[in-house]
Symmetry: none
Subunit: 409 residues, 2 copies
Amino acid sequence: MKSVMIIADGLGGRPTDWEGKTCLEAADTPVLDELAARGATGLMDSIGPGISPGSDTAHLSLFGYDPYRYYTGRGVFEAAGIGMDVRSGDVCFRTNFATVDEEGKIADRRAGRIQQGQDRLQEALAQLSSDKYPDVEVVFQTSTEHRGALILRGQGLGDDVSPTDPHELDTPIAESVAEDEKSRKTAEVLNEVTEKARDILREEPLNVEREEEGKLPANALLARGAASYPDLPDVGDKYGITASVVAAGALYIGAAKIAGMEPKEAEGATGTVDSKIINKVKLAQEELERGKDLVFVHFKGTDNASHDHDPQAKIKFIEKIDRTFAWLRDNLDWEETHVGFAGDHTTPIRYGEHVADPVPVLMNGPSVRRDRVEAFDERSCGEGGLGRFSGNLLPILLSYSNLGKKFGA
Amino acid sequence: MKSVMIIADGLGGRPTDWEGKTCLEAADTPVLDELAARGATGLMDSIGPGISPGSDTAHLSLFGYDPYRYYTGRGVFEAAGIGMDVRSGDVCFRTNFATVDEEGKIADRRAGRIQQGQDRLQEALAQLSSDKYPDVEVVFQTSTEHRGALILRGQGLGDDVSPTDPHELDTPIAESVAEDEKSRKTAEVLNEVTEKARDILREEPLNVEREEEGKLPANALLARGAASYPDLPDVGDKYGITASVVAAGALYIGAAKIAGMEPKEAEGATGTVDSKIINKVKLAQEELERGKDLVFVHFKGTDNASHDHDPQAKIKFIEKIDRTFAWLRDNLDWEETHVGFAGDHTTPIRYGEHVADPVPVLMNGPSVRRDRVEAFDERSCGEGGLGRFSGNLLPILLSYSNLGKKFGA
């Protein structure tokens, strides 16, 4: 049997979201309600009770990896997510192109949200290397706007170093400081590379053009979120399965790639409320048909709307998800497939940040023990037959499909 | 937003408590039932399913600290709870004044439950020190009756030593034995101090007076419960909050103090069924108004009555708690406050000791997803929307108020 795990980021809400209801309660979701009536529901603490999860730690935990053991920091997921080839031993950083003034102080942390020519800057930065440690390979790649990732690759690189991004304006680029002996080499290389990037970017014709156009030059590279590659067993080793991920956000693609899932890009998927998410589930179906055991599908719009304090946008996106489930209802081979649907954390509209309130979970498929709940929302799921549990959505789902490995004999 | 966490010690009961009902079911609790109807309920294993918690380990777990990682022993909580200044590296003991006969055998482990003059003994024992290890500071303080605490302070003191209290009559004071190399110094100092305390107390005029009055002399100091200071992050570091504790029992005050809460004393609070607990919640309200993010309020009477196998006393105390909640219902700013109420463990009337049965939990406030439960008792809470979870009551409550820290990004 096959499995599809679908996560709507920041799906969970609070009664303060909209007229005494959560957005999920306020939304019109006939298909999800129908699936709730056919399946089983429950509440999940994505990491554990009382723990406000990051998106990265939450996904590790949903995949069945203890984030307290495996989480190294966000940089590595971002680097993997933008398509970089991240390997064991690598130390990764999230980066920003920034604007530094003549005194060396930061004038803009995002280089005026640069929109064009980042590929030219990337090409120029391909020559980055360390004179002091020539054995260390330096790899840089841009992603969207000012964003990018930097990988330091070599022997004996720790990841316990402070960022060069001071997160403040009008101060110089910070010197990275190692917090332990093992990370000293990393900090030294990062500081040297930061200096060299300044020299390279200063000379870049693109920046001369930008200044002539009255735009802020992208004349510095700031790094943060140092993270070494987490040595986790991939889903092949851990569960004996093959898997794909269909997502738009770099973080989710990255986490899934590191867990051994193959990234697949759906047409029109944007990682926003405007995303053509129907294409994601159609692609998931194709991946199952191509032989994958599991497809992980990620919708981001719910979280974006929550961070924007926009209940209407969240309700509308939930209703789009509901219509997307109609396609699954009508097209999946329900005799042979299990579908798990949940949030990765709660993001209430008023607060706009992640909180610890548990998220609703819905399970459908032939192995699922149907409960009496007939609506899919936080309060109904609180009465569901799955009860309340912590993380591990993926292995629970796999087990319904008789996949995964036994612990013990 | 603000939070109030209220624990009724040993609140949980069993159907064998009173005519087929738990004491909480038998008690008349209109206010708690009203709050249950307005809020959400559930069941909590204070540490984990099947684990009978001590009061100390339960409270660590409720505060969000893994007791398997941080619990070092009871002595340190008692020492902190009676107002001693406990520091990292200290090894603490609970102590008893005892009566030893002329042969050096223990005649009474509590020195006739001595009621007066303990301050004079404490003053005399202020000269305690170690000749062998003059770098070790020795601090002793009495609390109630025969009880007190002893702190050994210095470099390289382990806490894995056996007690000098043999917990038996008619045997000599036990020699403390170190269970590991790191604790050898501790055992040596403890044995030396125990010997010196004998010499000091033997000469004490108070004991001459006691013998003349036909009372048992307090001529020995017995130590037990060795515990080093637990190096846990306080609630400021862990959650970014300020907090107060309103409790009467030394253990609870001590645990909360070590977690970084400021102890506040309510008038007429005794830690027994006669306690004026209304003053505790009034003081909690004042602490919130003074700017604290969280106040932890502890009621002890439920546990005392349970240990005494007295269902009527427990029912009566629960009804007093109910009236206390009426004050909270009428006086708290419910738009801006979350209140969590639970037991720390179950203490059934017939058995009179802590058991692992999960305890009822009630959550109220604007962020709480209301469930259908309309009564506050063990069985009703078993149908509640919070489901069943393990410990972490404090971070769950903080998260409702948008407090606490995110794990991951």
